[in-house]
Assembly symmetry: C2
Homo-oligomer: 340 residues x 2
């Protein structure tokens, strides 16, 4: 049933080699033959066998997307689907395919490394939601696998694409400053995550730039979850800030609940800004002012970059390391008090 080059050749009255030339669009095929072979290919619905091809080309036209820790967190916000959408779109248009690897534990990763990378399944890898100390990064780097990360990484050999978390946090904070708030607090993410660090850094930059004093009581660490937002806000209520920048929407929702339970109102008593723009941000009352990341673009740019690396792979070693940082967007709704 599955046809081979040889059979197509027989049908078209030419050799295997000539059919191969037509399939791969190489020059040096007469117009007549090209036409004839093309017809046969079209009629039979022939398509070259991928495995046979990659056995000799050492290319699979498949890239991997690796999400090391498939935690629950990931699955309640639209980050992951949007990222994949960006990746697949670029893959589709470049005739590449996407292999998805999700892991719940570190043991799975080790397997993955052997099974997938070493077995030559993939031409390159995109890693997202990676923890700083993930050992897989080092291993991939060592194996010289084409690699692009989504979210920045300190290793200087790593190509990455990231949102400008710092700039976005500064922008959100400045928005609150511009609204006249004097005492602004922040609920941060877990500070062992680069993202979280960047967001506090942006917050601090804005505060510094406007010569706001920033006692440490106004910076409370959480872990991006609603629960930690509730708790953190409860602690912040002791110092009564007039505005709060939460490093995730989930934390902002938690903060909102804490504020309400204290008998206060958002935005009248305390203004609130979140980060992520998950669907909930728009659904709650008051709708949450927040920061929207260009997630889909992150995915497509990472892919674009990866494909460039792959295609340049055959050239000499010292290829340039690329880092792309995309701006985020402030979505102004009710919770900051700017509207109305």
């Amino acid at each position: 049933m599955p046809l081979t080059l040889e059979e197509i050749g027989k049908l078209a009255g030419v050799s295997r080699s000539t059919v191969s030339r037509v399939v791969n669009g190489s020059a040096n095929v007469s117009e007549v033959v090209r036409e004839r072979v093309g017809q046969v290919i079209h009629q039979t619905g022939y398509h070259p066998h991928a495995a046979a091809r990659s056995l000799v080309t050492h290319r699979t036209r498949v890239i991997g997307v690796v999400i090391p820790e498939a935690l629950t967190k990931l699955f309640t916000d639209p980050f992951f689907p949007l990222l994949l959408r960006g990746v697949t779109e670029t893959c589709n248009s470049h005739d590449y395919h996407l292999m998805l690897s999700l892991f719940s534990g570190p043991d799975g990763q080790f397997d993955m490394h052997r099974r997938v990378i070493r077995s030559g399944y993939l031409d390159g890898v995109i890693m997202a939601s990676t923890r700083l100390d993930d050992p897989l990064v080092a291993r991939l780097l060592q194996d010289k696998v084409a690699l692009v990360m989504v979210g920045r990484h300190p290793d200087e050999r790593v190509n990455y694409v990231d949102t400008d978390n710092l700039g976005a946090a500064r922008m959100a904070t400045e928005h609150l400053i511009r609204l006249g708030h004097k005492k602004i607090a922040t609920l941060t993410g877990p500070l062992n995550m680069l993202q979280a660090q960047d967001r506090v850094a942006g917050f601090r930059q804005a505060m510094d730039a406007h010569r706001y004093s920033l006692p440490e009581s106004l910076v409370v660490e959480g872990d991006f979850t609603e629960g930690s937002g509730y708790e953190g806000m409860t602690r912040l209520l002791a110092v009564r800030p007039s505005a709060v920048f939460a490093a995730s929407d989930a934390m902002a929702v938690g903060a909102l609940k804490a504020i309400r339970h204290a008998g206060l109102r958002v935005p009248d008593d305390i203004a609130l800004v979140g980060f992520d723009d998950v669907p909930i941000a728009e659904a709650i009352e008051p709708a949450l002012t927040t920061v929207r990341q260009p997630i889909e673009r992150l995915g497509s740019m990472a892919t674009e970059l990866l494909l460039t690396l792959i295609e340049a792979g055959s050239s000499e070693e010292p290829r340039l390391v690329q880092r792309i940082v995309l701006p985020a967007e402030l979505i102004v709704r009710q919770s900051c008090g700017a509207l109305r």
Copy 2:
């Protein structure tokens, strides 16, 4: 750099064939040799080349997940990530890999069919979120590709795994009946979708079983979106039902807004039940009573089924068509008025 069987053989002082036997765990290898070869394999980190292997075995150990219409809808609810989680978990434990294909248009599908199926990339395919009339289904069936669908399909040759939408809708409706509601309405999904049909059918069954009269004014068609929920509810307000079963959480949220704008309260004036249990359901006020599908299990069972089909594939033709229907769960919160 990448090692071959031959090289491992040389290092271990045996032939290519023997190494292959060790790798594939076949019998008829002496304990001594097995041990020695195993050591070499472990030390070198050797892994067989996937393409070479599948060139001869005609197996890739890769399955495809195809989502034909990567619409925005899909990306605002956690269906898709949860499904993938179920699929990958099963894939991981069976040493299979997952190739993901998302399409935004029908033209992409045609490509996909040729590029992916015919080129022998995949051993089998899982399709989800498929429209009834999707031409890809017919084509896959015709090509005798191992296929499992998530969500039922009328074609009698199709293996599928589905949630018991009918039973779940009946359960949700009966919950409202048990709470003493006499005039219960429903906001349906688009009736050209099987899911939506099943949910109305369940609603009708419950109403019939309790000999409730059901004038057509109590059944309003929507399209699963919040907007259509708002509109539909606005129309329903004319007949003033005491409870509403919405076929999606998004529609329930829309209905909630419409009810509020009419100056009425949930659940006091009108009780509300949704479907899906998206994160928003829990975040809104009052928290939404809704139906939770076993999405992750759907994914893992579909995969399990697919792998069975693949592994049985070599046997004779008339393989049994399998259909698995999993029950859903009613999550009781505030919006139905049962609590408190």
